[in-house]
Amino acid sequence: MAKTMLMDLSKCTGCRGCQVACKQWNDLEAEKTHNRGTYQNPPELSSATWKLVHFNEAEVNKKVRWFFLPKQCLHCKDASCVSVCPTKAAHYAGEFVVIDQSLCIGCGYCGSACPFGVPHLEAPGAHKGSARKCTFCIDRVTNGLPPACAKTCPAGVYTFGERKDVVDTGKQRVEALRSLGHTNALLYGEHELGGLHVMAVLTESPTYYGLPKSPRYATSTVLGHWLSGVVTAGIVAALPFWFLFKRKEELAQKKQAGGEK
C-alpha cells in the first residue's frame, strides 16, 4: 500500500514548525533574507528550503482571510519532473519522487516542468548546482516514521498513513467543513496528476492557496507539439520554397522547351 500524507489546511496556523523541522531533519542551511513586509520567509522554495509556509491573503465574504499553504513537493503519481528529466535523476522511489544527486546535471528542466514550481537549483546568490526538493523524508518513512513536518506539527494539520485511509479521512473532513459553512471545501490531490501523495483539505478554491486548479502533466501533449513543429516545417517547405523556387524552375523549363520547339 502507498503511503500518503494529508494536510488539513483549515487547521494550519502558519506557525512554520513544519518548515523548521524540515530544515533540521534534512540538515539544510539557513538562508540570508531581507524583510519584505510579509511573514513568508524565505520568499520561495529553494535548494536549501524544501518546505515553506506560504502566507496567502484573500477577501472572502468581505473579510480578509489567511490561506496558509505549507508548500512542498506533492509527490505526483504522474510527475512532470520525472518525465522531462534527461538523465533519469528525477525518478520514482516507490510512491515518492526523488532526485538522485549523483545523476542530476543541474539543467533545471524539472523546475520548469513542475506545475507547482517545486524543484530548485540554487539558493539565492549561490552557484546553480543540482536540483533539490523534498524527499518525503524517505529515510524516515522507510523506517516506519512519519515525515519530520508531520511529526512536529502542533496543530494536527497532518495525517500520515495508507492512501485509502488518508483519502477517507480527507473526505470526512471535507464533509465536516461543508456542514460548518465552508461550502467550497474540497479534497485536493485525490485525482490530480494521477493522484498526489501529499493531498490537502482546502476550505476554498485551490487558487486562494496559490495552487493550480487543474495542474498539467508537462509532457502530456509532447507528441502533439512535435507534430505541430513538423507540420509547420512542411508548410514552410511548401509555401515560400516550393511555391517560389520549384514553380519558377518548372515555368522556366516549360518556357525553354516552348522556345526550342
Binding site: 518525465s83 533539490r132 508537462a218 509532457t219 501533449t221 514552410v236 520554397f241 524552375e249
Partner: protein
C-alpha cells in the same frame, strides 16, 4: 531565473543551424542541384556552431562535469541520496545508453550529437567518390534531423508549466518559422562571404516567412499571459529589437528597394538574426517572470 543568456544563445544557434540546412536543402532540391556548394557550407558551418553551442550548454549546467549522464547511465537502479544521510547506491558495472523519448531535452541532446557526428562525416568524406551513395543517403537523414532540430527548441519550452511556454501549441510552429528565417539569414551571410549568388526570389521567400512568423507571434501573444513582453520589463527589448530592428527595418528596406545592394542585403540578414535572437530571449525570459 534558471535559464538565462546561455540558453537564449542555444535556442538561436540550434534553430539557426537546423534552419540553414533545411532552407539550403530545399533551395538546392527545388532548383535542380544548383546550390550544392551552399548546402555543403551549411554542414561545415553548422557542425562548428553546434560544437560551440554544446560547449556553452555544458558550461551553463549546474553540474557541468556530469554532462555525460545525458548519454550514459548505470543499470536500472538508482542511488538514493539524502543530504547528511549518505548514499545507498545500486549500480551495474556496464553503462547503458540514456534514451528517454518523452523528454524533449533528451531527444534534443541525441539529435544534436548525431548532427555533429553525421555532419563531420559529410564534411570530411562527403565528396569521396566511393562514399557518394552513402553521403547522399545521409544528407536525406540530415534533412529529417534538421526538421527535428528546428522543432526541438519550441517543443523543449512547451513541455513545461511556465507561463507563455507551457502547453503552448503555437510555440513550436513559431520557433520552426523563426529558425528557418534565421537559417536563411545565415545563408545570406555565407553566400556573401563566399561571393555566391542567391536567387533574387530568396529575399521574397524570407519576407513570406516573416509574415507567417508575425502571424504566429500575434497568436502566441494573444493566447498567453504575455504582459511582461508587450507591456512589462521586456517590452523595450521586444519593441526595439524584435519589432523595430527585426521587422520594420527589413520590411521598409525590401519595399523601398527591390534589388538591394550588397551592403543592404547584409544589413537585412543581420536585422533578421537580431530579431530571432531577441524573439527567443524575450519569450525565454518572459516565461520565467
Amino acid at each position: 531565473m534558471t535559464w538565462g543568456l546561455g540558453i537564449s544563445i542555444h535556442l538561436l544557434l540550434s534553430g539557426m543551424v537546423g534552419g540553414a540546412f533545411f532552407a539550403a536543402y530545399l533551395l538546392n532540391n527545388f532548383t535542380g542541384g544548383k546550390y550544392k556548394d551552399l548546402l555543403r557550407s551549411t554542414i561545415s558551418v553548422g557542425v562548428v556552431l553546434v560544437i560551440l553551442d554544446t560547449i556553452l550548454l555544458i558550461l551553463d549546467l549546474g553540474k557541468p562535469f556530469r554532462f555525460w549522464h545525458l548519454f550514459f547511465s548505470f543499470g536500472s537502479s538508482h542511488s538514493l541520496i539524502v543530504p547528511g544521510m549518505g548514499a545507498a547506491t545500486l549500480r551495474s558495472e556496464w553503462p547503458w545508453l540514456t534514451i528517454l523519448p518523452v523528454s524533449p531535452m533528451a531527444v534534443g541532446t541525441w539529435v544534436l550529437t548525431l548532427w555533429v557526428v553525421i555532419g563531420l562525416f559529410l564534411w570530411v568524406f562527403g565528396r569521396m567518390k566511393p562514399l557518394l551513395g552513402l553521403a547522399g543517403f545521409l544528407t536525406k537523414v540530415y534533412f529529417v534531423m534538421a526538421i527535428l532540430i528546428i522543432s526541438y527548441t519550441g517543443v523543449f519550452l512547451s513541455a513545461t508549466n511556465q507561463p507563455i511556454w507551457g502547453g503552448s501549441f503555437i510555440l513550436p510552429p513559431l520557433f520552426v518559422v523563426s529558425a528557418v528565417a534565421a537559417g536563411m539569414a545565415l545563408l545570406v551571410l555565407i553566400s556573401r562571404y563566399k561571393k555566391w549568388e542567391l536567387p533574387p526570389i530568396f529575399g521574397r521567400s524570407l519576407l513570406i516567412l516573416t509574415l507567417i512568423e508575425v502571424l504566429f507571434l500575434i497568436i502566441l501573444l494573444v493566447a498567453s499571459p504575455s504582459g511582461v513582453i508587450v507591456a512589462g520589463p521586456l517590452s523595450f527589448s521586444f519593441y526595439v529589437f524584435v519589432v523595430l530592428i527585426g521587422l520594420i527595418v527589413p520590411f521598409v528596406m525590401a519595399l523601398r528597394n527591390k534589388n538591394m545592394a550588397e551592403r543592404a542585403v547584409l544589413i537585412f540578414a543581420w536585422c533578421v538574426l537580431i530579431r530571432e535572437f531577441f524573439l527567443r530571449t524575450v519569450i525565454l525570459y518572459g516565461g520565467q517572470m
